[in-house]
C-alpha cells in the first residue's frame, strides 16, 4: 500500500481528536469497511447506528487497535495510530507504538469483560497499578471515586459473578475511566442488559457527557438515547457512512432512502 500520500502528522489547524482517513477493513474478500473517512472533534459525542453487519462495531474495534486495518491511516490527536513514522515515512505500528497511543483510548464492551477473579475495586485498580504505575493507595482512591460516581461503591468488594449485568457494566465504565482516557468507546453497552437495568447504565453515560470533556464514540441500538445525548449521528450501511447529521436533523428529516427505511424499521420494532 502506498502511504506517501498520507501526512506524517496532521497540521495544528486541522487536528480533530480522531480522523479515519480512507480506512479499509476486510476479512478475506468480505469488505467490512470501505474507504471510511470520519472525523471526531474534541469533546464530541458521536453515535454510530446502523443495521447489523454494517461495520459499525468494527469502527470502534479498529480505534481500540483490537483489529488491524487493511488500508488508510487512523490519526489520534493528529498523530498516526495504526502507523508510525520511521525514516521520514509511515510504516505499520509496532507494539511499543500501539501501547503509547492506546493510553489515550478506553473502551466498554457489550459483554462487560470484567476480570472474574477480581472484585469490582480490584478490576478498577488493575490498570492504574500495573500499567500507569500508580501506588496501591492512589489507585484505590481513584477507583473508589469512580465507583462512587457510577453508584457502585457499596458493591466494591463483590466479584463480577455476584453483580447484575447493569452493575457489571457500570463497574466496567469505572474501570475504563480509571485509566483517564481522552477518548471513550462504548460498544453496544446496553445490548446484553435486561430492559429494566438499561437506564442505570445510560444514566452514567449521560453524566459523563454532562460533566466531562471526553471525546466519545458509541455504537448503540437505542435511538432515543442516541438522540438525547449525541452531537452527531452517523448512520452506517454496508461498510459506508450513508448519512450523518446532528440528531434533531437526522431523526426529524433523514435525507437518504436507506436511513428512512432503517428508522421506520426501528420504530416498528418499538
Amino acid at each position: 500500500m502506498d502511504l506517501s500520500a498520507y501526512p506524517l502528522e496532521l497540521p495544528e489547524s486541522d487536528r480533530p481528536m480522531v480522523r479515519f482517513l480512507n480506512v479499509t477493513k476486510s476479512y478475506g474478500s468480505l469488505v467490512v469497511l470501505d474507504n471510511l473517512n470520519l472525523d471526531i472533534q474534541r469533546g464530541e459525542m458521536v453515535s454510530v447506528i446502523g443495521p447489523s453487519g454494517s461495520g459499525k462495531t468494527t469502527v470502534l474495534r479498529m480505534l481500540m487497535t483490537l483489529e488491524t486495518i487493511n488500508g488508510g491511516v487512523i490519526y489520534v490527536d493528529g498523530k498516526p495510530l495504526t502507523h508510525m513514522v520511521r525514516g521520514g515515512r509511515l510504516v505499520p505500528a509496532d507494539e511499543a507504538h500501539l501501547r503509547r497511543m492506546r493510553a489515550s483510548i478506553g473502551m466498554c464492551f457489550q459483554h462487560f469483560n470484567l476480570f472474574p477473579h477480581m472484585t469490582a475495586l480490584q478490576n478498577c485498580m488493575e490498570g492504574p497499578v500495573q500499567v500507569l504505575g500508580l501506588s496501591k493507595a492512589e489507585a484505590r482512591a481513584r477507583a473508589e471515586d469512580l465507583l462512587a460516581m457510577v453508584g457502585m461503591i457499596d458493591k466494591k468488594d463483590q466479584h463480577p459473578s455476584r453483580l447484575s449485568g447493569g452493575q457489571q457494566q457500570r463497574v466496567a465504565i469505572a474501570r475504563a475511566l480509571a485509566m483517564r482516557p481522552r477518548i471513550m468507546l462504548f460498544d453496544e453497552v446496553t445490548s446484553a442488559l435486561d430492559p429494566e437495568v438499561i437506564g442505570e447504565v445510560t444514566e452514567v453515560i449521560r453524566k459523563l457527557v454532562a460533566e466531562h470533556d471526553l471525546t466519545m464514540l458509541m455504537v448503540t441500538h437505542q435511538m432515543g438515547f442516541a438522540r438525547d445525548i449525541s452531537d452527531r449521528i452517523c448512520f452506517f450501511y454496508k461498510g459506508k457512512i450513508e448519512e450523518q447529521a446532528p440528531p434533531e436533523q437526522f431523526f426529524a428529516n433523514p435525507q437518504r432512502e436507506r436511513t428512512q427505511q432503517f428508522l421506520r424499521a426501528v420504530k416498528d420494532a418499538d
Binding site: M64, T65, L66, E95, R99, R102, A103, I105, G106, M107, F109, H111, N113, L114, F115, P116, H117, M118, T119, E126, G127, Q130, V131, H159, P160, S161, R162, R175, A176, M179
Partner: protein, 222 residues
Amino acid sequence: MRFDWNWDFTLEILPRLLRAALNTLIAAGVGYALAMVLGLIFALALRSPWRLPRTLLREGLEFIRSTPLVVQIFFIFYVGPQIGITLSPWVAGMIAIGLHYSAYLAEVYRAGIEAVPRGQWEACRALNMSTRDSYFRIVLPQALPHAIPGMGNYLVGIFKDTPMLSVIGVTELMQAANSIGSETYRFLEPYTLVGVIFLALSLPTAGLVRLGERRLRSKLGL
C-alpha cells in the same frame, strides 16, 4: 502351587519398601515440578507469534508424546554420555520423566488458556496491559481451574510411571521389591505391598486434586 501369605515377612520388608516409596514420592514430585514449569514454558511458546520455533516445538512435543517413556529414560541415561552428558540415574530419570510429562502438561495448559474467553484479552488491550501482565495476571489465573483436572490426572500418571526408573537402577519402590524378590525368592508379599502402597498414594492424590480445584475456584470468585 503355593499361595501362603507370611505376615512376619511382610512386616520385615515393609520399612524397606516404605523407604523406597519415599524415593518414589521424591522422583514423582521433582519430575512433576519440572514438568509443570517446562510445560508452561512450552504452552506459552506454542502461542508465540514466531512461526518457525513454534512449528519445531510442536513437532518436538508430538515426538515426545508418541514415543514410550522407557525409551526416553534409556536414551537420556545411556546415549547422553556418548555426547558428553553423563548423568546419575536419579538426575537422568527425573529429567526424562519431567520432559515426558511436560509435553502432556503443555497440552493441558494450552486447552486451559484457550478456554478463557477472547473478551478477557480484549479487556487487557483496552486497559493497555502488556502481554506479560495479560498472561500472568488475567489469563493464566482463569486458565488454571480449567487445567487442574487434567493436571491431576497426570500427577497420578507420573506416580504410576516411576517404576520405569528401575530400569536404570533408581532405587524406587519397584526396584526395592525386585531386590527383595531376588534375595528371598518370595514375590507375593513385596509386589502386593507395592500395589497397596501405590493405591495409598494415588487415591488421596486424586481426592486432593478435586478439593484443590474447588478451593481455587471459590478463591478466584469463579
